[in-house]
């Protein structure tokens, strides 16, 4: 294995995907053989509303360079309103982390439906590029 | 042959001995592991010493305990379930409840594990010599009582005391520990074993009822007898008055207490009852002693 140098450093991104849409979207991307960067590690969750801010913080502390939370589009939640509740948690947490000095693109959010294999691939590309630009997470990560 | 309590024979002054770090565990190997109960929550670990020197230095009496240590998970205290007469091994029965105990349940045979001990005072086995012994246990607190019984049943020691009566209760027959050994004890004529459960099943031949009531029913004589009591707090609470009613004086009733512990050597605080530390001054206390302490247990 090559050692991690600045030039060939690849970000590690943790993606929390809603079981009912984004996870299926990722599946679709896979079965349709749509390419996307291999930088994500996926954790399937029952709903984007399940995301406890502790999960996101724990991921960053544990050495992830970026976190993505992806759920169903508004109105499509399997549990009717889970993604709406999640949206408020996401909005406030995102703003708060930025206030504290965590860079804007470290933690990102998306809506990806089960039919959006292409969008899933785009989101992962964008997030990976964003985090790449930021470089490895230096603050907060446990040394 | 009084056994030296591991902790107690090191009384040279702190000034002139090299400082030994009491927080460092010594390595042991998990030789054998066995699930004890039908709920699969209790597992007995049989450990052997990795280093001969440490085995030779390890002397204990029934009722003492060890801190079992799993690197990465932490430590937790457990009473030694084997008897000092079982050479080369130490047994512990672990109730799966928290982080460390779960790890101990997952430990595979052959794995290495750390222990610190023996810790605490143990049962006053010298005091029991020439007397009758009444042993009352409930649930999985039976571990150190098993050590005590096995110690006195050993051919070298059996003549040291007179009669042994054991009352052992559990919620269900499947939850009794050390079942094979209990069968052996039942066959002996120099020990009276009374087993009881809260709910029997169709094969159950012992008693059905709570330990305090069974004690009352069989009413052992208190004369020349020491009682040793170990079990969940609720059992202790109701058994103690029955012993008093049977005319056991406080000085002749002993119990082993459990508390949240960390260091096991009387430094970290937390396990004190009044000015005594359960880890260092206990875990075995006579009722005469407990009675004078705040009811912080």
């Amino acid at each position: 294995m090559e050692s991690e140098t600045v030039t060939n450093w690849e970000p590690k991104i943790l993606a929390f995907l809603c079981n009912w849409c984004s996870y299926a979207g990722a599946d679709l991307a896979g079965t349709s053989r749509i390419q996307y960067p291999p930088n994500i590690r996926v954790i399937r969750v029952p709903c984007s509303g399940r995301i406890n801010p502790l999960f996101i913080l724990k991921a960053l502390q544990g050495g992830m360079d970026g976190v993505l939370v992806s759920g169903c589009h508004p109105g499509d939640c399997h549990f009717l309103s889970g993604n709406y509740i999640g949206r408020r948690k996401s909005a406030t947490l995102k703003r708060f982390l930025e206030y504290l000095g965590v860079e804007e693109n470290r933690v990102q959010f998306s809506w990806v439906s089960a039919a959006e294999g292409v969008k899933f691939s785009q989101v992962i590309q964008e997030v990976t590029e964003d985090v790449k630009k930021l470089g490895p997470l230096r603050n907060f990560v446990k040394k | 042959m009084p056994l030296p309590g591991g902790a107690r024979d090191r009384k040279d002054s702190p000034g002139n001995r090299p400082m030994k770090n009491p927080y460092l565990p010594i390595p042991m190997i998990l030789k054998k592991a066995q699930i004890e109960t039908s709920d699969r929550l209790l597992r007995t670990l049989e450990l052997s010493f990795k280093n001969q020197e440490e085995e030779n230095a390890f002397r204990f009496i029934p009722g003492q305990f060890c801190e079992l240590s799993i690197l990465g998970k932490g430590e937790a205290p457990f009473g030694i379930a084997s008897s000092p007469m079982e050479k080369g091994v130490l047994k512990f029965t672990i109730n799966r409840a928290g982080v460390v105990t779960t790890a101990l349940h997952h430990l595979e045979e052959g794995a290495e594990i750390g222990i610190r001990g023996p810790l605490g005072n143990g049962y006053p086995v010298d005091l029991f010599e020439g007397k009758n012994l009444l042993i009352i246990g409930g649930g999985f607190a039976f571990t150190t009582l098993r050590s005590l019984v096995a110690y006195f049943l050993h051919p070298d020691n059996r003549s040291k005391i007179k009669g042994i009566t054991v009352i052992y209760g559990a919620r269900m027959p499947g939850l009794l520990l050390y079942k094979e050994e209990l069968l052996e004890w039942e066959r002996r004529d120099d020990l009276r074993l009374v087993m009881t459960v809260d709910w029997g099943d169709k094969d159950w031949k012992g008693k059905v009822g709570l330990v305090p009531n069974v004690l009352e029913e069989i009413a052992p004589l208190s004369e020349d007898t020491y009682a040793v009591l170990c079990g969940p707090p609720i059992m202790i609470k109701f058994t103690f008055p029955k012993l008093i009613a049977l005319r056991f004086p406080n000085e002749r009733i002993f119990t082993s207490l459990e508390r949240r512990m960390k260091c096991g050597i009387g430094k970290c605080g937390r396990c004190n009852i009044g000015h005594l530390y359960v880890c260092k001054d206990g875990p075995v206390f006579s009722y005469a002693r407990l009675e004078k302490l705040p009811k912080d247990y």
């Binding site: 913080l57 502390q61 408020r88 406030t92 504290l100 998306s110 | -």
Partner: protein, 314 residues
């Protein structure tokens, strides 16, 4: 005088047995301070005090006395905490009776101590002035120059939700527009902000005084104490300290009344209120919510609106 009226009301409630106990403030051994008191007899109400040193948010005690009918002395911020707790259904047995006092804004004892040299032995309020005496000094200070910063920005000093109001409502206006410490912090670069945050909390000794002083921190098991899962370690690594302070503050989102009890409780003088004030600004900005103002409106993070802001979502 407010203090007299307060004692009268408390006495009346206890005499008529409308409450089992009164939680209030009393003078105690140190100058510039009061201490919480728990009064059960009408005579005991003589020790109730009201002054500019009533800094504790007594609502934090309501969890302890859930079985009793409690009368509690509250400032504007304290009352709003009680409303927030009530929304979270913390009073299944008896809703506490609020004895509200319109707040004159509280004096920051640490600021006063820094303004004089030597130990303060006595501090007396005289109108807008504060006369501070030591062994070899006596100075008169302008009270308003020594207020807690959250009090300076406060626009809800009158506890409108109170069952009884002692004294007249006060005119609501901030001495400082918005929260200067939040804007000051926002003026920095992200790197500076993290650095400043990390430096500030590096003094933390994890005594959890900030948590315990807060009426909204009542979880049976705090996430820091959980072993399964274990979220953070118990030592003082910068990362774990940051984790604790981020989550402690964030858990107050939409629940914080901005009383500043967390910061006042800190023995290490860590600036904490700008964190929760920022969150308060966020929920106001995003969802138009202010803690404890409208007793019927659910906490913002337990509800939603289909049209909520989502520009940040891809």
């Amino acid at each position: 005088m407010i203090q007299e009226k307060l004692r009268e009301k408390a006495k009346e409630l206890l005499s008529k047995k409308e409450v089992d106990l009164i939680i209030g403030f009393s003078e105690w051994t140190l100058p510039l301070r009061t201490t919480p008191v728990f009064i059960r007899t009408p005579e005991g109400t003589e020790s109730l005090a009201w002054n500019s040193f009533c800094e504790n948010n007594l609502a934090t005690y309501l969890h302890k006395f859930g079985r009793f009918k409690v009368g509690i002395v509250v400032k504007g911020c304290d009352a709003r905490s009680v409303v927030a707790l009530s929304l979270e259904k913390r009073f299944p047995n008896h809703r506490p009776l609020l004895i509200g006092v319109p707040c004159q804004r509280m004096v920051d004892r640490k600021k006063v101590k820094k303004a004089v040299k030597g130990e303060i032995l006595q501090a007396v309020e005289q109108g807008d002035l504060l006369v501070v005496k030591g062994e070899d000094f006596e100075v008169t200070l302008k009270r308003d120059d020594f207020l807690y910063s959250v009090c300076r920005s406060c626009t809800h000093r009158t506890p409108n939700q109170a069952d009884f109001l002692i004294g007249d409502p006060v005119e609501e206006f901030p001495l400082d527009e918005a929260h200067p410490d939040v804007s000051e912090f926002e003026g920095k670069t992200p790197e500076e902000r993290w650095g400043s945050f990390e430096k500030e909390i590096s003094r933390c000794i994890r005594c959890y005084a900030c948590r315990e002083a807060c009426p909204m921190c009542y979880c049976t098991e705090c996430f820091v104490d959980s072993t399964r899962p274990k979220w953070i370690e118990k030592s003082l690594s910068p990362s774990d300290l940051a984790f604790y302070h981020i989550v402690r503050a964030y858990h107050q989102t939409g629940r914080c009344s901005g009383c500043g009890a967390c910061e006042r409780a800190c023995p290490m003088d860590i600036r904490l209120t700008h964190l929760t004030q920022k969150l308060n600004q966020e929920v106001k900005d995003l969802y138009g919510f202010e803690t404890g103002i409208q007793p019927e409106v659910p906490p913002p993070l337990s509800t939603f609106h289909p049209e909520d802001e989502q520009g940040f979502i891809k």
